[in-house]
Symmetry: C2
Subunit: 340 residues, 2 copies
């Protein structure tokens, strides 16, 4: 995990004020959305179901059999009238979450979607297959799992393992945490059921997205890391930069051709307290292994460990942390240095 | 169903071109989102589940028991820097659908969200409890039902009952349909599972939304009609106008105090071919009954039947129909006449 964020750049970043607002009015050409991916699937042989379409209505017997769309992904974009960047930023969320990850933060302050719009990028925020406005279906090969508030609190390193308590007053966060802990229950409203068997559907949809709207910059978080790395391996010509925020997995260079990422600048961003959790060191290790292979092939794979920059207390949800604007600007500066 | 849309207004509307683009760049202050409603619910006594948080990872035994947020609603807003209207428009979708209803249409053309932004209104689009980015839970009192493509095609009056066919080439739409039928499968990607037992949760969340962001204009569709009428009955001081697009139900004036809507101008908007479907005349009748009671109490309840205005072929999804801009402008003109 040796830190390789360019020193000159970092020196400049340290002079940026955390409190500078990212808000500025911007001229919008269009707010819009579309679906990519998915296909028709049919159900047959099921008995009728009773549906009351409105209150007080006598339920009707309805045939549940027929055709459905399955496996699509939802994408919402904000296109600026005068973007400063020629290519858009795509934001891909993590597991058990949706595109809301990038919007207004649980404490009501603006998130990375706003920060990147204000900085002059068109922004595409997606809800991956099975989540959010992508909707979900009965046709997956498993049953969904649900994230408890305890799991989120500890896995996202707001507090150490064992620090969760159902009573907000008795939860123990890391003393230096950047997460707005008073808004944690609000954040938990974003948690969405997840299936563990849909990686192929999800990857197909992301690839269709990239084929449709790129060249682009892709910013991924957590579970999105796997999809971002893999899509970049498959479409290195279309992804001009990949920013991986705490990617929870990475393809094994023994199984993929890491040299294909030679011309895709990559920046991995890490928060604090990684060593305190039983899973995180292993998650980080995967990106370190891929980083070594990409560098070996002559590629750029930068590593921004926030605590190594004396920025302490960031959680896995660092785009929601109190200093999220500061981190967004570090990412924007890194992109700017690459002409993006 | 006698039509009462003011004649002078209608005459002006007929001169509007269907083709006039609603697109115009607009200065945005903020794109943001928040959750309203919901509360903590706990699960206990369940055995461990196995979760692999990333590809290739050995699954961990995870305790599924704990606390969850249940019953929240998601709300996304676009606030203009210089809105022409002092109060925002809230858009509430119908059953088995999400806020995507109001966004880009399935054929890729801009929908009502864009039309109202371009006209100078701040717009709030919500995903009701259990749907879209509101996410869903295991704690409802029923199992979900799923909309087939056939059900949507016929219930939304794109074609008459019995006209559905899985093969697009063999589906028979009404000859004059305004729905972009080539985009029907794309539209079906928006269909989301629904539970039939959540009306109270949903209504609670809508009321919290109104308490938070109104005074406002509320535009509802289909199942949203029930929630819009009921919320207006409970908060007549906060809803300055209610536009009910094909409301599928209305409170019975024998059970509610319709006079409370005396100062809430209401416009109901109806598409074509209502009489061809076994359910629709009954759905319409409910709003007619409420209309009579509101007018009896001295209130304004206008009735815009599009076919009575020689606008033919509109479906239940008239905000996605080819002439959706024309209808949006009729609604905006009606609001304008009320100083909104």
């Amino acid at each position: 995990m040796q830190e390789r964020f360019p020193a000159a750049l970092a020196a400049g970043l340290l002079s940026l004020s955390i409190g500078t607002p990212v808000q500025a009015d911007y001229l919008v050409k269009e707010v819009g959305s579309f679906y990519v991916g998915g296909k028709e699937t049919a159900l047959s042989g099921q008995p009728p179901v009773e549906i009351a379409f409105s209150p007080g209505m006598k339920p009707l017997k309805v045939d549940p059999n027929g055709e459905f769309e399955v496996g699509q992904m939802y994408v919402q974009y904000v296109k600026l009238a005068q973007p400063k960047s020629k290519i858009p930023v795509l934001m891909w969320h993590g597991g058990g979450l949706t595109g809301v990850t990038w919007e207004t933060k649980p404490d009501g302050a603006p998130g990375w979607q706003q920060s990147f719009l204000a900085a002059g990028y068109d922004v595409y925020v997606s809800d991956s297959v099975e989540r959010g406005r992508a909707t979900w279906s009965r046709f997956y090969d498993s049953t969904p799992v649900f994230r408890t508030k305890k799991e989120g609190w500890e896995l996202f390193r707001i507090g150490p393992p064992g620090s969760w308590d159902a009573s907000p007053a008795r939860r123990t966060a890391f003393p230096d945490t950047q997460f707005p802990t008073a808004a944690y229950d609000q954040f938990a409203k974003e948690y969405t059921p997840r299936w563990l068997t849909n990686d192929k559907l999800i990857l197909d949809a992301y690839q269709q997205l990239v084929e449709r709207v790129c060249p682009c910059i892709v910013i991924v978080h957590s579970q999105g890391g796997w999809f971002g790395y893999t899509t970049a391996l498959n479409h290195p010509d279309r992804i001009r930069a990949l920013v991986a925020v705490e990617p929870s997995a990475a393809p094994d260079p023994a199984k993929v051709e890491a040299a294909r990422l030679r011309n895709v600048p990559i920046l991995a961003v890490w928060g604090d307290h990684l060593a305190t959790h039983p899973q995180w060191p292993g998650f980080v290790k995967q990106s370190e292994t891929l980083r070594a292979a990409v560098r070996e092939a002559g590629g750029t794979f930068d590593w921004l460990s926030l605590p190594d920059r004396d920025i302490r207390g960031n959680t896995h949800m660092l785009m929601m942390d109190r200093n999220s604007d500061q981190i967004a600007r570090m990412v924007q500066q890194w992109l700017g240095e690459r002409g993006l």
